[in-house]
C-alpha cells in the first residue's frame, strides 16, 4: 500500500523503454491489421473506399501516446491506425470495415467514418479538409468550458489546399484554441505530387500566415512524433495556443484499395527507397540496440498482434449485419 501511494504521489512519464515497447506493439498491430483489411477487401468482404495507413503508423501512434484519455481526436478517412492507437478495439474497427452491427459505428459509417465517442474519437470524415473546422470547434468547446484538454486533428497535405484549412487555422489562432493540427505529409494527394499543385511546398510555412507555432517532424520516427506532440499539447494546455505540425511520412500503399501502389505518379524504386526508413523496423532496431528486445521477443510480439487481428477478422465475419430496422434510426436524435 505504501509503495503504491508513493508511486501515485509522484506521477512521471512512462519509462522510456516501456513507452517504446508500447508504441512498437501498436505500430505492429496497425500494420498487421491493415494487411488483413487489404486481404478482406480483395476478397470483397470490405466494400466502398478503404484507405490504408501502412507506412504512416508512427504518426498516429507517436502522437496519441503523448496525449491523455480525455483529449479529443478527429481525423480524415485514413483513420484506421489512429482509431487503433486510441484504443478502439480491433474487433470493433474490423467489424465496422465489414459493415457489421458490432462495428464501432454500428455498421453505418464504414472505413471512412469510425467513431468511438467514449474514447473521444470523433470520426472519421470523408470530405478532404472538411473536418479541420470541426477540430477548431471542439477546441472552442474546450476553451468555453475552461477545460485543459486538447484536440488533435489529422489530415493529409492535400487538405492544405482547401479553404477550410485556412479558415480553421485563422480562427484557431484568433480565438486561441487548444488544437494540434497534425498534417501527415505523405507527399501525394491520391496520384498528384504535392509540389505539382502547391505554391508553398513546406506545409509548415502556412503557420506564419496565422501567427501559429509550428514544427516539422520526422514522421517515420515515433519518438520524434511523440516529443513534438508533447510540446504542442503543453502549448495548448498552457494558454490554449494551437500548433501546426508538419509530419513528413510516406504511404506505401495506393491512395485507397482501388488505386495502384505506384505507376504514373511515383516509381517502384521510390517506394522501395522509402521503405528503408520503415518506422517499425527503426524502432525495433533501437530497442534491440538498447538491449530491450531480441529477435525472439519481436517474433513473439508479432505473433501476438497477428492473433489479435485474426480474432478481429473472425469476429467481423461472424458478426450480424445491422437489423433492417436500423436503416431509419439515428437520422434524427430524440
Amino acid at each position: 500500500m505504501a509503495t503504491t501511494a508513493t508511486r501515485t504521489a509522484k506521477p512521471s512519464a512512462p519509462p522510456q523503454t516501456e513507452l517504446e515497447r508500447r508504441m512498437l506493439r501498436q505500430m505492429l498491430l496497425i500494420r498487421r491489421f491493415e494487411e488483413k483489411a487489404a486481404e478482406a477487401y480483395a476478397l470483397g468482404k470490405i466494400g466502398g473506399f478503404c484507405h490504408l495507413y501502412i507506412g504512416q503508423e508512427a504518426v498516429g501512434v507517436g502522437s496519441l501516446a503523448a496525449l491523455r484519455a480525455d483529449d479529443y481526436v478527429i481525423s480524415s478517412y485514413r483513420e484506421h491506425g489512429q482509431a487503433l492507437a486510441r484504443g478502439v478495439p480491433a474487433n470493433a474497427v474490423m467489424a465496422e470495415l465489414y459493415g457489421k452491427a458490432t462495428g464501432c459505428s454500428s455498421g453505418k459509417g464504414g472505413s471512412m467514418h469510425l467513431f468511438d465517442a467514449g474514447r473521444r474519437f470523433l470520426g472519421g470524415h470523408g470530405i478532404v479538409g472538411g473536418h479541420i473546422p470541426l477540430a477548431a470547434g471542439i477546441g472552442f468547446a474546450i476553451r468555453y468550458k475552461k477545460g485543459d484538454q486538447v484536440c488533435i486533428c489529422y489530415f493529409g497535405e492535400a487538405a492544405v489546399n482547401i479553404g477550410a484549412f485556412h479558415e480553421a487555422l485563422n480562427m484557431a489562432s484568433v480565438y486561441k484554441l487548444p488544437v494540434i493540427f497534425c498534417c501527415e505529409n505523405n507527399r501525394y494527394g491520391m496520384g498528384t505530387a504535392f509540389e505539382r499543385v502547391a505554391a508553398v511546398t513546406d506545409v509548415v510555412e502556412h503557420a506564419c500566415s496565422y501567427d501559429m507555432a509550428a514544427e516539422v517532424v520526422d514522421g517515420m520516427d515515433a519518438l520524434a512524433v511523440y516529443a513534438a506532440t508533447e510540446r504542442a499539447a503543453d502549448r495548448a494546455r498552457n494558454g490554449g495556443h494551437p500548433t501546426l505540425l508538419e509530419v513528413r511520412t510516406y504511404r506505401y500503399m495506393g491512395h485507397s484499395m482501388s488505386d495502384p501502389l505506384h505507376g504514373v505518379y511515383r516509381t517502384k524504386e521510390e517506394v522501395e527507397e522509402q521503405r528503408k526508413r520503415d518506422p517499425i523496423s527503426q524502432l525495433a532496431l533501437k530497442l534491440k540496440q538498447e538491449g530491450a528486445l531480441d529477435d525472439a521477443a519481436l517474433e513473439a510480439l508479432d505473433a501476438e498482434v497477428r492473433a489479435e487481428t485474426d480474432e478481429a477478422t473472425r469476429f467481423a465475419e461472424q458478426s450480424p449485419d445491422p437489423d433492417p430496422a436500423e436503416l431509419t434510426t439515428h437520422v434524427l436524435a430524440d
Binding site: S106, D116, A136, G137, I138, Y144, E167, Y175
Partner: protein
Amino acid sequence: MATLTYRDALNQALREEMQRDPNVFLMGEEVGVYQGAYKVSRGLLEEFGPQRIVDTPIAELGFAGIGVGAAMAGLRPVIEFMTWNFAVLALDQIVNSAAKILYESGGQVPIPIVFRGPNGAALQLAAQHSQAWESWLSHIPGLKVVAPATPADAKGLLKSAIRDNNPVIVLEGEMLYNIKGEVPEGEHIVPIGRAEVKRPGSVTVALKAAEQLAGQGASAEVLDLRSLRPLDEAAILDSVARTNRAVVVEEGWPHCGIGAQVVDVIQRDAFDQLDAPVLRVTQADVPMPYNKQLERLAKPSPERVVAAARRVLYLD
C-alpha cells in the same frame, strides 16, 4: 401580450435561451460589437460577453464548422449567417457534417445546432442576394427546417430550435424583420413540425390574397406550414378536406420547390377529395433581376395568388 417586431421576437428568444442554458452561444459575422447586421443580436454582447457572443471573420465555411465541432463536444451553438445567400459557402458543413454525423456514428454523436439568418428576396438586391433556399435545405435528411412568418412564431420556433438535439435551419424572412405582432412573454414554444391556419391581418402575400378573395366572395383558408421539414402532412390534408382545392405559394423557384413536395402529399393522400388541379405560385424561374419592375414581376404576389385561386374555383 406585448407587441414586438419580428427581429425583437428573435432577440427575445435568443436572450431567454442563453439565460436558460449556459451552453448556448451565438456566433457569426457582426453579431457582437456591431449588434447584428439586422440587429437581431442587439444588446446581447453587453449581457453575455464576448465568450458567448462571438464575432467571426467573413468565413462562413469555417465558423459553421466551428459550430458543428462545438456541438460535437457538448455545446449548443446558434450560428448566424448574415444572409442564407452567403451560407451556400458553408453547405459542406451543414450537409456533410451537421446532417450526417449522428447517422454515420451509429447514433453516438448528436449535433444540437441552429443555423439561422435572413432568407429570400428583399428589395432590389439583385440575383446573388435575393434567393430563397428552403427547398435545397429541406432536401437533406438529418436536418430540420423552419420558416416563421410572424413575430410569435419567430420567437416560439427559434426557442424550439435551440432546445432541439438536431441541426435546425431557421429561415427568417428578410422582409419580415420590421413587422409587428403580439408575442407571448416568457415560455412561448412553437413545436417544430406543426402548421397553423393563419387569421387575416398580417402582411404576407397569401393573407393579402385571401383578403382580396374575400372581397370577391370567395373564402380562402391560409395554412402557414411554418415547418418545412418535417412537414405537417396531416394539417395539409385536413385543409384540403375542408376546401377540396389548393394553391401552394412559396418564395423560391418552381423547379423541385417546396410546393412540389406539398402537391405530392395532396395527390397521394387526398386525390379523391380534389375538385381541381393543385396550382403553384412561385418566384419566376429566373435569377432575380435588379430592375424594380422586373423584380416585382419575378416575385409571387397577392394578385398571382388570387388569379390561381380563381382558377381552382373555376371562376375564370
